[in-house]
């Protein structure tokens, strides 16, 4: 369209906008206004409702079924826990001498001792040896190995003659690594109690601990043992 026409239409449109906003009082206009009032009211009501309760109100049936089955599974598990605890309580109530309580406490002390590293331990597990002919294995490699083993469910770990605990650290030193204040020299030997298959798989994943160590020029051997004896302890 030509510029002349455009400007003329523009004027008409301005007039249209004014015309649109000019109040006119007629029954139809009032009805339209009433409907728009209803619309605004409904919009606000809906927005408020949605904001108040977004978790379940908007969810459809299949999602709700999923949530429900999750919940019932969890409650089943919790009911199992409850039964166990009630059993323990019944046993504790039955015995007046406190032998069961003592037994329980001892059991717990042993478990905590094993976790804290204050007690010697034995059980099935693996032995991981890291030979370092190139002298390029650093503290960070050993820390990675320890973390990987823990992630894979290692219960008790001993590195050479150091029992690994929650506060175990590794620091680079000339010709070896210092762990918990003790100097370790290659070859490094991890004795680990835990599920041998899981830990071996975890160490052996592509780009995992073993590959990294081999990349640093180390020779790594992993062997599953039916019985690993861990004699080193940490001072309680």
């Amino acid at each position: 369209m030509s510029g002349d026409q455009a400007s003329q239409e523009d004027r008409e449109d301005r007039a249209g906008l004014r015309e649109l906003l000019r109040p006119r009082l007629s029954r139809g206009q009032l009805a339209g206004g009433l409907l728009c009032l209803l619309l605004g009211f409904a919009v606000v009501a809906q927005v408020e409702t949605t904001r108040r309760d977004t978790t379940f109100a908007a969810a459809r049936e299949d999602e709700l079924v999923g949530v429900l089955s999750d919940l019932s599974q969890r409650s089943e598990r919790l009911r199992g826990d409850l039964r166990e605890l009630e059993d323990t309580r019944a046993r504790l109530e039955r015995d007046g001498q406190g032998t069961t309580a003592l037994e329980d406490a001892r059991e717990r002390a042993t478990a905590y001792g094993l976790l804290a590293g204050t007690l010697p331990a034995e059980g099935p597990g693996i032995e991981l040896t890291v030979e370092d002919p190139a002298g390029r294995v650093r503290a960070v490699h050993l820390l990675d190995a320890l973390q990987e083993l823990r992630d894979a469910g290692a219960e008790v770990v001993q590195v050479n003659d150091v029992r690994a605990g929650t506060g175990t650290y590794f620091v680079d030193a000339a010709g070896g690594v210092v762990a918990d204040g003790r100097f370790l020299r290659a070859p490094y030997r991890f004795l680990v109690i835990g599920d041998a298959h899981t830990m071996t798989t975890a160490l052996d994943i592509p780009g995992g601990v073993i590959k990294t160590l081999e990349g640093a020029g180390a020779r790594v051997g992993v062997s599953a043992r039916p019985k690993v004896e861990i004699r080193a302890t940490r001072p309680g």
Partner: protein
């Protein structure tokens, strides 16, 4: 103008009263609102094109909202409620956009 005032008054009332949407209405109200919005844009467009008619506006407003809610209701009965409401929203969304485009063209010539 009265319609605009009505809309603002409705929003104000809603904020003031904080109404609860009854449970049986909850699945249908959002769709009905979208349909009503579509009717509103259609009304503005018709006014700008000079073919606005009060009766048509009222009937299409109410009719669209009721039909949209009805479609979702039937869909829920048939077990395809979520799909149908998605479909209705898509169609109404397209209509709102085309109405908005017509309004824009009328008002700004672009």
């Amino acid at each position: 103008m009265i319609a605009l005032l009505g809309l603002l008054a409705g929003i104000g009332l809603g904020l003031l009263l904080e109404p609860d949407v009854p449970l049986w209405l909850q699945p249908y109200l959002p769709i009905a609102i979208v349909a009503a919005l579509d009717a509103m844009f259609g009304g503005v467009r018709a006014r700008l094109e000079g073919v606005f008619d009060d009766k048509v506006f009222v009937v299409s407003f109410v009719g669209n909202a009721v039909i949209a809610a009805l479609i979702v209701f039937v869909g829920d009965q048939l077990g395809v409620g979520s799909q149908l409401s998605t479909g209705v929203v898509v169609v109404l969304g397209i209509r709102i956009f085309s109405n908005a485009a017509a309004i824009r063209r009328k008002l700004f010539g672009a």
